[in-house]
Subunit: 691 residues, 2 copies
């Protein structure tokens, strides 16, 4: 349930919220809804506390501060990337786990960045002021993006924070989000993969579950642990059934506000295509992993990610097979269009969007492969592409660049491009080959892009050449490249840089078409529709997910299926009962050893009605006091439809119970220092002076 | 109502809290009390938000963050010291006020430090572990203080924060308070003194009132405004009568837990003596101020402080004339002693404390004059004393130093000793003379200390000599002195340094006697009593004030006097009605000019039942949402008895209404940028791009 950075937006919006629906922004929190449904007074102060105690992780997940000394709780699968990068053949921290009993033992993640939301400011007026009369959609889009970059730069210069202008309601509202960036993140604790992902892909997106999908990290600044000020106290008891709970996290992408036509694009064109890409990738990865233990280790994260994506997208597509969804969607859209017609305005936004869909469907495959999915060629290729873009874009003035390379984001970009990460040539070659085979397979060998890139070679030969000869794996070389002018870069002899430059030319072409003919008109049309919605529904609506901090409310609650009632809690006893002799049900030795001392009745996982989606991974589940009682790590299969329409009936968020975390740290991992920090809220710097 | 740093502790404790009583610490907040009395659920999250949004000011007051960009609200009389130090003959910011329309116009305070509480940790066990069997009270005190310094240093080294171990319940509990220190504090806005302190000393400690006792500052860090994360939204409407409101601030000192004997010391010995000191000072200051406008300006802050102190202490003494107070106190103490007797322990803490009182009463005058009141000799003398102590103490290991000079506090001490402040020789000479006359007058001319210090000269001649010849006013000279060894300092030729060295010798002698025979035994005795109280009353008790962050709750509410009912709000109309032609009722020109446009019905000041005391000056009054609705600046005369026993009947906290602040900024001061920041919560860095 990692965030799907690559999955494009999709659809649905119920305007009468009678449920625990909504991924609410902090400046428009569901105070009335929570008051009405749960008689709980959500105060400004509590909301401020919540966003200060919770975090966004750049790998596409969420987290929270759980001690005054910078301790962070997140999922194992969010720390996975960092653990993999710290692992070697000799020490596989992903599988075996990791624990630092003292601060000096904590290990720094090479390129993990954590963001803490400091404040929100509405800048819609400022962004829209950049659009002048007579501009085309494409010009207007460029003007708005330039204004966003200017605002971000002014903010970053003045505050020293990371400042992002976020596009909400697909262009209906623009807000400046200011984040404190933490880039020195160290691993404190992670259990092994077998217990973190107990049940493997088979049990992924299901409930009842028995996963200890948790990891603890620590944020540092100037070499000292971050003093958090606001953090979530850790509840050793976890929640009770029926408890009102809040989830704060960064849902990545939903499509609840899209039009019927946009939804059709996603369901009929985008998803089926992305699914193919992942299936190719998954197949090749599995062949590689079968070669040996070390190969399995190197490819583990990618396999996990691919399998997860396949399962998720399959679920999304399945949810779009429900007729009632389309009927409901059409009915709502009809009502909106009628209301719009009465206003007598000239340009029908739905028509504008429909026209853009035709372009989108035509260019989608190239757009996705060249512009959205290129990271799946492997690390080296991703770095080469990133450097080419970095050099080309930073040569331009701030306001004219691609959004990713705006001044206010360059710190994060540079960190990623210059991080020291392990490079395995055979694995990189595999990635490169997969990428090349994918584009050849999906675009056809006669496609101009494919012909130019392959240059008459087979994917395996070209992949071998590129990886063998490139020096991109060397951080110093990358730094040198990053200081070049675009002209210097073009005369660089590195074959992978050359390849990335070629690719970039094609990518920019399709990107321009996307921006001019899809994004520009869509943004304009969506803004008109959003304004209409504000007018009709006021603060009862919330924006689609944007991988920015959101609040959701709900209750710990089971649900009915055709097989009967599913209780909201699982117990550790169930874990042992389910355990078997082979992956993915094999328990680690430590767990087998601890069996006698563990309280079997301890709640392990629980489900709740909170409205979440990929990107919420690692979000804390928070009780009405403001304490952490759980840790979101998944949703059940029924919850996948939440991407398009929230349903409280059977869709559930799935969390690790904090009681299970405490019991495991105590009885299985004997992590005394971590336990005391979680239970007391602070790290003990002082040696106890008691005799 | 500035904090009385010099007033020693005093007495009283009601154990059945049926009222809005209590200055609660954040780790033991009055959740049950607030729930029971006001049906309001005070959550952990809200409490965290409150301490993160509020501040302590080193000049002895409180404040709060009121924007995301480091804007601070406090009292004019808390910013007074900074304003005076920034003023010159040509620009008297105290009287005329100050406003910086843009950040670049803001002026840095030379030595104002602001602390933000980040977290609290109970370290009672660690402190008490330092006491070994067989130690005398004096040895135990030293051992505990050494342990406190060690804990503070370990914490400061690990976190980079200011770490203070706070002694609560006079030794019943020790807690490590971690603060973020802000030392770059700039003035944004202050109204003139005539409206900030409308009614002058005559109206001080009274209600109804009409003061605009507000100032806005801004905290910077690394040259950029502090990004607050948590701050109080500003309510333009203020509170309504009957509203539940919270006050977060740093009450300086109360004496509710003291024994009958300690209370007697305070009422019969300490207060009457301190009163005499201030009366001498006040008289001399007024003679000086009468010389001319510039002399009046230079002495204004000191006169304000002296008059305030005289009025407050007179009130404290008066409140101790109530027989019922003593009866109640004796009854409670009797009950405690009986409970103690049943436990069959050997050492009766009350007897220990009584014995210490005899010593205290004997040494009090010298102790106060040499050790507590020396800053009243003037700035230069205070700096000289500070440097002598700094050099002597820092030559010792951390754990052996006087508490003020422990490593974790040295940053603050250095800032104060090296700040560039204006020095007026005639005014300094006056201060020195006052000091010398005071000690001669109160200790007698045959006293050994007096004889040695005066060295056969008259106060005016010696004062002139010392001030004329010293170079202490020069910051570079002070820095040089601070780098000396104690031996080098002793051979320094500067006459004021020489004087301070002489004085220090006497001061240390009396300090040692105080610590060994008063503080040590008292601390031990009070700890025994505190433990008894914890046992009997649990979390229904709160510690005496310690100039650390505390929470109080109450309601906006009028009160009955013998003259009738006093309504909780005053209105701006009342201000104009009360205005006259002469100080202290003369309105500034700006207010007269704005009269036509002002909404006369705007609430100006209000009173509430919150339990506060000196040090709470500048505390925000916060509504149940977490918004600032008022600004504490005083208590009524009836509230002075709160030092010894809280009474809800007529004692009231007095605040500026946020509605008055908004109305004044809008109509009188036309402070657009500040207004927009208060109302929107952020400073506008961007030039508006709207045409």
């Amino acid at each position: 349930m990692k965030r799907f950075l690559m999955v494009t937006c999709v659809v649905f919006m119920s305007t009468t919220l009678l449920a625990d629906e909504g991924m609410w922004t902090f400046d428009a929190a569901p105070k009335q809804q929570v008051q009405k449904r749960y008689h709980y007074h959500l105060t400004d102060g509590f909301l401020d506390f919540l966003h200060m105690a919770t975090l966004r992780m750049n790998v596409g997940g969420s987290g929270s501060f759980v001690s005054q000394d910078g301790l962070i709780m997140t999922n194992h699968h969010i720390a996975h990337d960092c653990l993999a990068k710290l692992s070697t053949k000799a020490h596989d921290y992903v599988s075996e786990g990791f624990y630092a009993p003292a601060m000096k033992d904590e290990r720094k993640c090479p390129d993990l960045e954590v963001n803490r939301l400091m404040s929100i400011q509405d800048v819609t007026r400022d962004v829209l002021a950049a659009v002048k009369k007579g501009m085309s959609d494409a010009q207007a889009l460029q003007a708005k993006k330039a204004a966003m970059s200017r605002l971000e730069k002014a903010c970053a210069d003045a505050t020293g924070l990371r400042c992002d202008v976020v596009t909400l309601y697909h262009g209906g509202k623009y807000e400046l989000y200011r984040y404190k960036r933490y880039t020195d993140i160290r691993v404190v604790f992670a259990p092994g993969f077998p217990i973190a992902f107990f049940g493997g892909n088979k049990e992924n997106f299901t409930f009842p579950r028995y996963d200890l999908d948790v990891a603890f990290l620590r944020a540092y600044e100037n070499g000292k642990p971050v003093q958090t000020g606001s953090f979530l106290r850790f509840s050793p008891a976890g929640p009770k059934a029926g408890d009102l709970v809040f989830v704060v996290g960064n849902p990545g992408r939903t499509g609840r506000l899209l039009t019927v036509d946009q939804l059709t694009t996603v369901g009929k064109y985008s998803y089926p295509f992305i699914l193919k890409v992942f299936q190719i990738k998954d197949k090749i990865l599995n062949l590689y992993a079968a070669k040996g233990k070390e190969e399995a280790r190197r490819s583990q994260e990618a396999r996990f990610y691919a399998e997860n994506a396949i399962k998720a997208i399959t679920g999304f597509v399945a949810s779009l097979n429900h007729k009632w969804l389309w009927q409901k969607k059409r009915r709502k859209e009809k009502a909106l269009r009628e209301a719009f017609a009465k206003m007598g305005k000239a340009r029908d936004p739905w028509k504008v969007i429909t026209k853009a869909q035709a372009v989108m469907r035509r260019i989608y495959r190239q757009y996705y492969l060249l512009e959205r999915g290129y990271e799946y060629f492997g690390h080296l290729h991703g770095l080469a592409r990133g450097i080419v873009r970095y050099v080309t874009e930073t040569a331009k003035p701030n306001a004219k660049r691609l959004r990713r390379y705006r001044d206010s984001n360059l710190g994060s970009v540079r960190m990623q491009l210059t991080a020291k990460i392990p490079v395995y040539k055979d694995y990189e070659e595999l990635g490169m080959r997969t990428g090349l085979e994918t584009i050849r397979g999906l675009l056809g060998k006669h496609n101009a892009v494919v012909k130019t890139l392959l240059d008459g070679k087979t994917p395996d030969i070209l992949a071998h050449e590129l990886v063998a000869k490139t020096r991109i794996g060397d951080v110093d070389f990358r730094r040198k490249l990053m200081q070049m002018t675009p002209q210097q870069l073009r005369s660089c002899k590195d074959p992978l840089v050359h390849f990335a430059l070629l690719e970039d030319r094609f990518a920019r072409k399709v990107l321009k078409e996307y921006q001019d003919k899809v994004e520009g008109p869509e943004r304009d049309g969506m803004r008109t529709i959003a304004r209409l919605r504000f007018k009709l529904y006021g603060n009862k609506i919330y924006p689609d997910a944007t991988f920015t901090p959101r609040l959701s409310f709900g209750v710990v609650k089971g649900y009915k299926t055709t097989h009967g009632f599913v209780k909201p809690f699982t117990r550790i006893a169930g874990l042992y009962k389910k355990a078997g002799k082979a992956y993915p049900y094999k328990l680690p030795q430590k767990w087998l050893k601890a069996k006698g001392s563990i309280d079997m009745n301890t709640p392990m996982n629980f489900c709740s009605t909170n409205d979440i989606i990929g990107g919420n991974s690692g979000s804390p589940v928070i009780d009405t006091e403001g304490r952490a009682v759980g840790l979101i790590f998944d949703g059940n299969i029924e919850s996948l439809g939440n991407r398009f329409v929230y349903s409280e009936k059977t869709a559930r968020a799935v969390s690790v119970d904090t009681a299970a975390i405490i019991e495991a740290l105590k009885k299985v991992y004997h992590a005394q220092a971590l336990l005391q920090e979680l239970l007391n809220g602070y790290h003990r710097y002082q040696p106890t002076q008691r005799p």
